[in-house]
Amino acid sequence: MSNLNRLGGACGAGALAALAFAGLAFGQDAPASPIPAPAFDSGGTTWMMISSVLVLAMTIPGLALFYGGLVRAKNMLSVLMQVSSILCLVAIIWVVYGYSMTFTDGGSLNAYVGGFSKMFLANVDFAGLDPTKGAATFSNGLYLPELVYILFQMTFACITPALIVGAVAERVKFSGLMVFVALWVTIVYFPIAHMVWYWPGPDGVAAATLAGEEIRSGLIWGWGGLDFAGGTVVHINAGIAGLVLCLLIGKRLGFGKDAMPPHSLTLSMVGAAMLWIGWFGFNAGSNLAADGIAALAAMNTFVATAAAAMGWVLVEWLTRGHPSLLGAISGMVAGLVAVTPAAGFAGPIGAIVLGFVAGVACFFFCTTVKNAFKYDDSLDVFGVHCIGGIIGAIGTAIVADPGFTGQGWLDYAASPGTAVAGAYDLTAQLITQAKAVGVTLVWSGLVSAVLYYVVHLTIGMRVTADQEREGLDISSHGERAYNS
């Protein structure tokens, strides 16, 4: 999912590896056109199915436990239920119209959103036999059965709104949240994902270039924004929505007065571990092929996370006197968020620096800054996902620079049918990244606020004080998490 860049089209250099492979295996069948014949690769298909499963594991049990462990025992089930229900709801929405709105041509609105030609997965080759009906990767000639791509992207659509739960945990009304999420993915997530990730693929760029036609892509892709695995689409997007929601819904009863310690850091740690594990699918899977760039993304996902955890813990140790496990796992998540847009672009040392910076910065944000402003972002969705996401998005411009051992971007138009390295302009890239961040912050922030009021004024977004005090598990779901 790296982005098209400037004129020609760009992606992680993974293209070349797969191209090489394709060349070896299928070279003898190459037609007169410079664009290679489409082919599937069972190694890549396997990698993408596994990556999809890994991203599912990020949501449940990963995110559910990470968040759940941080709330009080009386709200544990409510968090698990919110995350699980969002997952199920968005999965269905995705196949009904979400995929179509995100990954088809939106006609005159194509810069902003897709169309409805694949509603109910119409026009998708379910048997996945025919590479010419496959989904493009970042290598000319290399395709995935379209359902693999739909599945992988579905897991992203499912986890993004689930991230928001952390901002309003322990007080949000279940029915209101579900309606909010259904509206939010429709009006915010699908369009932004379309803007950042919709493009015609390497061969599409090549064909359009050869034919002298316009390359039809989403707005931010067209600008050349680099977002390997969803720093803007997923993390900034959900993070700003979380901030808006927690400001509008108000603080938890007793916030700042009662002790609200995590009911089980053990479970949060397990959740963080599952997030880390699953994030290899998220980041390295976003390469859409099993090649060297996937390995690079995987390596970066490992070391940036380790560096961020160490960053958070070290500053905490220095400033607060103790290195805490909650610090370590918060740092892990901050590092994972920050490396997401850079995963296939940065070199490992660049990733370490990026992760370390994110760990330190998010620490200050979640402690000093948040305490100063006194808003109740219960589980730090904003401080970790939005701040970490912004650091990652901007930092990507730097660590992707080949001058800093980055991978730069690939140009699919310069020599149609193959991919060549594009010229890297750091300043321009920084500006592009900032613009992409800005669009996301503004659109997601504004629409989230409007949607909040829509739901608030109809079915309501918050439980009553008594329900909140009793705990959402009993009051909203009629169950308790723990019995003896």
């Binding site: 310690p261 805490s324 402690t367």
Partner: protein, 112 residues
């Protein structure tokens, strides 16, 4: 009969129980409690949120005994539960009207 109640540090339980057994006290009931007193708790910080934990985990022992041995029991508990540091706990003695052993229906000192 008296009920002797002692709030002690948790890791002292086994020693105290042995001392009581040595005195011929064969039954007691233990509850996990949280104590507040001179012993300070500690501070826990969770991602910038600082909580002063003023309650300290303690065990409360309840021992019903014949009035005659109350002093011996108190002495036994004090000698075993004492570390000399703040938070060692307290002993409270209450009057006890009546005791019944459920299994047999025996009452009072027979039921102890």
């Amino acid at each position: 009969m008296k009920l002797v109640t002692a709030v002690i540090k948790p890791f002292k339980l086994d020693e105290v129980r042995e001392a009581l057994t040595a005195l011929g006290v064969f039954g007691l009931t233990v509850t996990e409690v949280k104590g507040y007193g001179r012993q300070k708790g500690h501070t826990e910080i969770y991602r910038g949120a600082e909580y002063a934990i003023s309650f300290v985990p303690k065990l409360k022992l309840e021992v019903a005994v014949k009035s005659e041995i109350v002093d011996a029991v108190i002495e036994a508990i004090v000698s075993k539960a004492k570390t000399g540091q703040i938070g060692d706990g307290k002993i409270f003695v209450y009057p006890l009207d009546h005791v019944v052993r459920i299994r047999t229906g025996e009452t009072d000192t027979e039921a102890l």
